[in-house]
Symmetry: C2
Subunit: 328 residues, 2 copies
Amino acid sequence: MTAPSPASIGSSSMPGPGERVAVLGAGVIGAGWAAFFALSGLDVRVYDIGVSAESSVMSTIERARPVMAALGLLSDRPTIPVVTSDLEHTVATAVHIQETIPENLEMKRRLYAEVESFAPSTSVIASSSSALKPSLLQAGMAHPGRFLVAHPCNPPYLMPVVEIVGGELTQPWAIESARRFYEALGKQTVVLRREVVGHLVNRLQAALWREAVHLVVEGVASVAEVDLAVTAGLGARWTVCGPHEIFHLSGGPQGMAAFLERLGPSVETWWDDLGHPRLDPATRQVLIDGMRESAAGRTVDEMALARDRKVVDVMAFLKRGIDQPGTR
Amino acid sequence: MTAPSPASIGSSSMPGPGERVAVLGAGVIGAGWAAFFALSGLDVRVYDIGVSAESSVMSTIERARPVMAALGLLSDRPTIPVVTSDLEHTVATAVHIQETIPENLEMKRRLYAEVESFAPSTSVIASSSSALKPSLLQAGMAHPGRFLVAHPCNPPYLMPVVEIVGGELTQPWAIESARRFYEALGKQTVVLRREVVGHLVNRLQAALWREAVHLVVEGVASVAEVDLAVTAGLGARWTVCGPHEIFHLSGGPQGMAAFLERLGPSVETWWDDLGHPRLDPATRQVLIDGMRESAAGRTVDEMALARDRKVVDVMAFLKRGIDQPGTR
């Protein structure tokens, strides 16, 4: 196993014009990463054997351009990714390799073996996997120390958070290099200390949705009403404070300690009453019917377009606030 | 039981200048409602026997004024609430009575009995309770049909959602009257179809926090990191889409049905792996220590002030977007 010197870590973790990045796979996430890297000014090569890979990447770039402009992340010198079915050409000189192929362990392991035969041993290989643990993915690699999971929220050119998770064999320099790489591109990283299915974001989202499903299935409220409770009741605060800080601030001067003392028992009562629905056929039908009613004739495309515009607006607004904390 | 005629329902549910509203209790929630109603231009009387009630209401009004101005909710003719320890004077001519005293069943029942001896039988009595079910609260009332729970998020002058819950004896006209009352003041209401502890908002919040606690206690990430996963990964989207709609939109053209087909099994795997922490002393200490580290020397007051400013900004931004859906 070859660990690079501190000097080479420093240089490889600071992406700049001309720095080469490889993206493996041009699906939704791969095309999203490729667009993000190219519009950040990096030299991007995308490996995909599908015939529509190039058009998918190009159309994603057009969608991503106004988004990154709104977020202040569009480079003065954006690039155009090279999309190719030549893996060696894609990874041979890449400092960072972002893998985004389907969630199939054997397929990913075979790809890594090929990648390692072409890529420098000092390049970081980051899988975008949300389902597979890095220890499983890196087992059998020639240089597993440089492998990790770096999971974006979708789309990668819009959502700021990247969850970084090392496996048993991942070396600290790789984690640090990945962290600095994403942060230099404007991302906010979270380095997990342990591998867990779903990382943080998907687990938290699943926890909220489980109760949302329960409330609908039990007939307490409709799909639209439960969604409204989140958008009008919880969302705005969660852009500013996480769940721990919210309760810390509701505890008065003594914060979390006072909150736990005063309201801990109530919270446990609520926890005990939360639901444990399963996604059986009857439940699925309730959700499908409830969502149809909530959509009120709007197609998924219409709703997604409206959603994307609004989320971009909110993200751009939040980013201005974060960048200029003293302006009000 | 006296049900008002449709005409009187119509007039009593449209608050306007000179309309009298009573607030019972001048704690944090009571003072917040009083400020909201007064700055909306209603004639407000507040009942509280504490010596600091009036100063509490007045200082809350000063905090609420710029918030409601930012949200476009400040009346041209705001009023000053009358704070009094005379219950009869408070409720005798009120069309809407908002109760906010501590979460003690017997105390609330005694208060309702007194209120009913003074108030018109057509005035709606709305409890702000988050812990007690309306069927329990209304048992024993002379006119239980006009009683319901109307739970705001805190502070009531900022957060738009009001959860309305009727008990077994609540009459439809009272629900409808309350709904129209709050909506005429700019609130977004959700009428629950069944009584459940914590209503919607607190249950959903508790579900998310349970997993947030689990991830910290299990050493997957720090308090600050879990909070970041929410603020940078989930919050912005949740201001625009609720949890059901998010998955509907991730399913492609077939929406929820396709999402459930493709990702339902993964979600169930995550559900099965979610934690079930308890708030025992060791867990409390982990949360207190983690929050202290996350606060990094900032006091609760400092953090709360920064939070409030940012949340107001986000809410005002979202409100502009909602009011002008075609502007971009």
